[in-house]
Symmetry: C2
Subunit: 434 residues, 2 copies
Amino acid sequence: MKPVNIGIVGLGTVGGGALNLLRDNAAELSRRTGRDIRVSHVGVRRDRPELNLNDIRISRDSFAVVQDPAVDIVVEVIGGTTTAREIVLQAIANGKHVVTANKALLAEHGNEIFAAAEEKGVYVAFEAAVAGGVPIIKVLREGLAANRIDWLAGIINGTGNFILTEMRDKGRDFDDVLAEAQALGYAEADPTFDVEGIDAAHKLTILASLAFGMPLQFAKAYTEGITQLTREDVSYAEELGFRIKHLGIARRTPAGIELRVHPTLIPADRLIANVNGVKNAVLVQADAVGPTLYYGAGAGAGPTASAVVADIVDVVRALTAESAPNVPHLAFMPQAIADTPILSMEAVVTAYYLRLQALDKPGVLADVTRILSSHDISIEAIIQKPSRDNGDSVPVILLTKPVLEREMNRAIAELEALSDIAGAVTRIRMETLA
Amino acid sequence: MKPVNIGIVGLGTVGGGALNLLRDNAAELSRRTGRDIRVSHVGVRRDRPELNLNDIRISRDSFAVVQDPAVDIVVEVIGGTTTAREIVLQAIANGKHVVTANKALLAEHGNEIFAAAEEKGVYVAFEAAVAGGVPIIKVLREGLAANRIDWLAGIINGTGNFILTEMRDKGRDFDDVLAEAQALGYAEADPTFDVEGIDAAHKLTILASLAFGMPLQFAKAYTEGITQLTREDVSYAEELGFRIKHLGIARRTPAGIELRVHPTLIPADRLIANVNGVKNAVLVQADAVGPTLYYGAGAGAGPTASAVVADIVDVVRALTAESAPNVPHLAFMPQAIADTPILSMEAVVTAYYLRLQALDKPGVLADVTRILSSHDISIEAIIQKPSRDNGDSVPVILLTKPVLEREMNRAIAELEALSDIAGAVTRIRMETLA
């Protein structure tokens, strides 16, 4: 059969990685698909002599790739949500299948893109958009298709997990580790997307739609970063038997879907609590299979290219069978996508870790426990530390039982109004993930 | 569109679980596939009033199910390799798609079965055959399709992992835990398949074919069980920073494929070393993505039914797209399956844990180290324990660097011939899994 022609738009880390992987494993890929797969056209803004593009058509204008009648599958890896959106929509309009690694694009414009793809009968494949080379999209859409999914929780930003791992292992401060992560290339010069949880929220938005069969609703995701975490909190959590991880959590409740990204205490003996460094992992709780976990590299040229090329293999196998797309983009049939409400954060129930600075005098703890009790908040554990600097305030750490976030907000406001409590109350949510 | 009719042959734990899951999640499954999926015919030897089979055709003769023109997909869950083989081959001959959970059948007769299926253009799906509800078949065949797979290592027998976990956590003896596992229903009355590694070897045979694109070659798998493990070895391993797991390992080497099931020391901080109880996990090392791990329940009605029904969803989606099967059964196109040699165990290189009982007198350690050295075996660590019962022999534990198994066999023969060494030398292989 004739070779399948790939057009790649963008030759950065991911695009270059995909190009190299398609070349390096060409024989293996042909064994897997029965077809030769070759890159025939790339859209790239500057010369890339190190990539040896001699046998490939090169365009400075990315749109030339999606207009090329010879191209069967367009790989969009330029990133961003403006030009990328136009390129993907034009590729679809031209009847081309699309493979993309662009989580921001899908989280924000995925509903439009998938509707266009279904209209034209083409694939838009996006395994690389979440958790790098870990095939979590395929797992949710196909592997766990027998299940009603209850919830999922993921470490889906490697930069954040690297920072938290270093803070715990070496007792380092956030700013210090962030600077190192930037030097190592794990974090961008502007780290906002990673450390503020926006990248994780993009990915969580995609996972939640696949899990529950609902439209992509990035704007409704609650997003809290890790910039406010201190090494003291990491250490107190450890002392209490917990690890702090930056989790994306999506959970089905009778009232609606929880969709939230925030630092989270989890029991230290959970497998996902032991996922360290830049690695990603997603824990899925489903009704028939129970808990399953998927772990691996969430970023980098090789892992992301692994997912991009796996998508290409899927499309090529389907093209070769001359079938229309048979796996719905969002795991459920388009007409079965339900507009399930996303809960506001105030309506979410979790347990809490609280840290407050209390004046070291009688009655303070009584005030604290009275306020919590008046909001029906039960205390699970309490640590009161001697003052480190012989000052007049001491840290008090409390673990609570699960409580409605709205009640906790009110309790914290009252706590902060106490004259014997110095500064703001630190709060970190807790999940048992069981 | 008209409903898809499922015939189930065998209504034991897995068959009953699949029946219930298809009913419980019927709405969700219809949302995922756009079709109604219903069980129309079951083959079952005795009455099962608790399953409420009123709306289903019931046959005592299993072959009636595969002859039924109304049945689109046959689910074979009777187990065994004789009647099951005939049922699967007849279903294929009748143009029906097959879903099976039968690892023994596939490991021993898979080449014949897949050839028949390709001839007739039908699917034989078998996600439930390995690691229960963890979609490891789909991961190897599709999710990691971009990669050349270097090796994989799996905890793929829950019974064995339960026993090893209890031995470590509670310092219990093998026989003691096995009896409890039987009482809990984790182990069969005849536990041979589980504790001697045969079940794991069946599963490893399947994983290895998917990873490397070679025919199923169960007869060439090296299989060693866990019946000889003592709690002392588990405890010494712990002291040295290792856990003992019963692993199935398949590795690509220049000389051929390693295919082996045996107790294995692995560093205690590896994620897979922390997979406990009846859970399964498979660690896959692939060239582009690096290491990824897949974890979950490896057995039980729900998890196995999850995999069976996921396979049904795959087939229904493909039927609905009116395509021929587009994912090759063994991950690579049938004409690309290569008859890669499987290495004999003597040709495998691993590090070793050795335990020997040495008479407590001068010169014994010198003899031991001289013999190891004469076979070019380097010692990584050594523990000599004081005698526990004030007897005249003491345990000596050695960790070696990697060595050819043939050399180790010779060295052990010489060690056992020493008059100052009492009894047999215990040896357990070690892997860093990195």
